[in-house]
Symmetry: C2
Subunit: 457 residues, 2 copies
């Protein structure tokens, strides 16, 4: 391919691409919020329209009991490999809304970044694939590989309907490589390929006592306070070495070879940069592991939200009738989410006091994944990144989860290439989510180049 022609075309269409991306970023497709169900559906339709406009064929929505899946393909390279592109058009909730510098659904360019909920996770990255295909076809004709696209609207709530869809549509989705752009590069202009993801198990832990809030004067001291019990339980979820204290939690954790740990230690890393990205007071985690190891090769448990009693302005003197915590555990190979949730449940039953009712509600979960990095698709991806970024990419893991990676691997027997264009500090689940524009445009170029590299061109 004439790479210069591609690069010039993309560079001269930046504002067109941004405007088009803006149209889907404006749609409030928050899958966790049942009241936004119509918006989520509208987003799916908009993406389908954009795919048709880009000449993707057989575009259709597969309705589910939840949000629709958007499918499309372009099969014009007989005998050549097929690439299945996955992405998701649903986004995280936006609260706390008051911490956004510009409204989450009004895309705004500030400096080198585009700010909007979904800009990096994952609408912006999904959009890269639509534009890469459109651009390739416009400049060079039919791509040398066959393409299939599957975009879902429930990634942020556990991909509950995608999983059975993949398993029941193996022929439709059959591919030689699955290509996913929903991860981060190691840093700005530090291209990287991701070969490992953590899994997740999410649950809600509730401690209940009275059926209504009690006056803390009239009852304080004579009944158990659910917030105290919740605090006691949460404090027993880790030991003083930062390890998860649930019995047998680490039993199935795959040992990581010393060589891989050495590779991780060679990656550029500084506490200063980590603290800049996280805005945290200090690095902190499991004793005996580095920050990257804690994020990539070790499982964790985090309280995502805690609540109970009076949380408004001022003071209210009550004993809460209940208190609850939303808890997620990030898992590594070969932990399995169902088993981990059972271990959590058993531990809570063991430590729950007799003075209250303690309930565990299992929510969504997904499995961790490791990608075989010696596969030809990974080699092609490496070459594509080198072409566009002008330097060799790093091989990294990621702390986040894309539960479907394991499903794709297992159901389709295809390797998954994690070619993410995000950055670790783009606030993907926080206020002021943004996308580094250079990676966005370089992403379009990289994916277009990858079509060629996958057939050795």
């Amino acid at each position: 391919m004439d790479y210069q022609k591609l690069s010039t075309y993309v560079d001269s269409h930046k504002s067109n691409f941004l405007n088009e991306l803006g149209e889907i970023l404006k749609i409030q497709s928050i899958s966790a919020d049942p009241s936004e169900k119509d918006e989520v559906h509208q987003c799916a339709e908009k993406i389908a329209d954009m795919m048709r406009a880009a000449s993707v064929e057989n575009v259709r929505l597969f309705e589910t009991e939840g949000n629709p899946l958007v499918y499309g393909d372009y099969i014009h390279a007989p005998g050549a490999p097929t690439v299945l592109v996955y992405g998701h058009y649903d986004v995280q909730p936006v609260d706390p809304l008051n911490e956004w510098e510009t409204p989450p659904f009004e895309p705004t360019v500030r400096g080198e970044d585009l700010y909007a909920r979904g800009s990096t996770d994952d609408k912006g990255q999904l959009f890269i694939h639509i534009k890469a295909f459109e651009t390739y076809r416009k400049l060079f004709g039919d791509p040398p590989v066959n393409l299939k696209f599957i975009f879902e609207g429930e990634e942020e709530i556990g991909s509950v309907h995608l999983d059975p869809f993949i398993r029941s549509h193996k022929d439709l989705l059959k591919a030689d490589t699955v290509l996913i752009s929903d991860t981060a590069m190691y840093g700005r202009d530090l291209p990287s390929v991701c070969y490992g993801l953590r899994g997740m198990a999410y649950l809600e832990l509730t401690v209940e006592n009275s059926s209504f809030d009690l006056h803390s004067g009239s009852f304080g001291g004579a009944v158990e306070n659910p917030a105290h019990v919740l605090a006691d339980i949460v404090s027993k979820l880790h030991d003083k070495y930062g390890r998860v204290a649930i019995p047998h939690f680490y039993d199935d954790v795959l040992a990581v070879p010393e060589e891989e740990r050495r590779e991780i230690s060679r990656l550029p890393y500084s506490d200063e940069e980590f603290l800049r990205q996280s805005s945290a007071v200090a690095p902190y985690g499991e004793f005996g592991y580095t920050t990257n190891e804690r994020l990539w090769i070790r499982p964790t448990l985090d309280v995502n939200g805690i609540y109970g009693g009076f949380t408004g302005e001022g003071a209210k003197t009550i004993i809460p009738s209940r208190a609850a915590a939303k808890i997620s555990m990030r898992l590594v190979p070969n932990q399995r989410s169902a088993e981990i949730l059972d271990l959590f449940d058993a531990y809570i039953k063991q430590i729950a006091p007799p003075t209250v009712r303690v309930l565990v509600r299992k929510m969504h979960s997904g499995e961790p994944a490791l990608i075989p990095i010696d596969h030809p698709s990974i080699k092609a991806t490496t070459e594509a990144l080198e072409t566009v970024f002008g330097k060799k990419p790093f091989y990294i893991r990621e702390g986040g989860s894309i539960p479907e990676v394991l499903t794709f691997q297992e159901a389709l027997g295809a390797p998954v290439v994690l070619l993410g264009f995000g950055l670790p500090d783009e606030n993907s689940h926080a206020p002021n989510e943004h996308l580094y524009l250079k990676h966005f445009f370089d992403g379009i170029k990289t994916v277009a180049v990858l079509y060629d590299k996958l057939v050795g061109k």
Copy 2:
């Protein structure tokens, strides 16, 4: 006095009294909510109007930097003792609103009770005094005692302006007895006089790390989670015997004579009734004390609210940037709130980890009080209760706080009579607050009878 005449008059005016009370219960005088400031003021004006209509004289609002104080008097018994009646017209917040069976500001009679925010705490009880005065004067002419009324609008937020007002208006408020109806009787038709109150110290404890919520995949395991630290701290506020674990917390607790503990143990009590009132799973508290002792003679610490991170529907995978708890401590003689807050602060400084920022914000506070039960006013109150209820009252303490009791005692040198007509299970700070109607009407009778008993009539 002709008690039968009084009793018949009150009984035949029940619906009038209820309708009038309804007018002030409808006003949303939530002092903790700054947006309700106008409603709070409107409530003060309405009460002043009602006092004037009842022939109270010199009725006026004293404006403060917060909510107004309502004053009025009726000084027509030269040489006779003066009674200062205190009450408050502000109410607790109403959340969780969805747990109210009928809206909090739409007074509704169900069965033997009147449901509304403020019905028992304290608008209903304040109203008893206006109606008792009006009724006495209508039936029997000028009462044999001089009366002063002071009603405040900031009791639920720490009486910040009443305290200095009392100290700077000692002449205006000068009295021989302070009469307060803001406590509960021991049970339905179990008349009682309260001789002790707990104090309170209220604060907010915040744990902060990052300046925004972090993606729990991208950062989970490598930074301290503020919700975990908050849980650790809260779990260290009590020991396993239910004692508050703050060093020196109990140093100033006055030993309670064995005789008083024996008296308390003689009161009618059953776990079944306590659990019915509290709807709690089990009695639980400091080892070595009975339920009534835990509520009356022992100090406590309770989390009133806990919050941080994602608390909406569904799941969001973040590490909260901060987590906080609202905490109140109920104090007993001779603990002092300022000292207790300092001890809390010092303990938190000692146990706070270096991986986060931990902040203590002191909020309102009030001192515990003991009433001399051998005072003639207590004897008169006992006789009044016996007249109306037909049985001897119990002498009890209360777990709640009326910080002004100590201020009245200290500033005016007058004994405080705590003649409450509420009940422990009337949800005074919870959804579905209500007032037992029989006590409301008997309260009007009791206060009218008390005027006579105070002068030995």
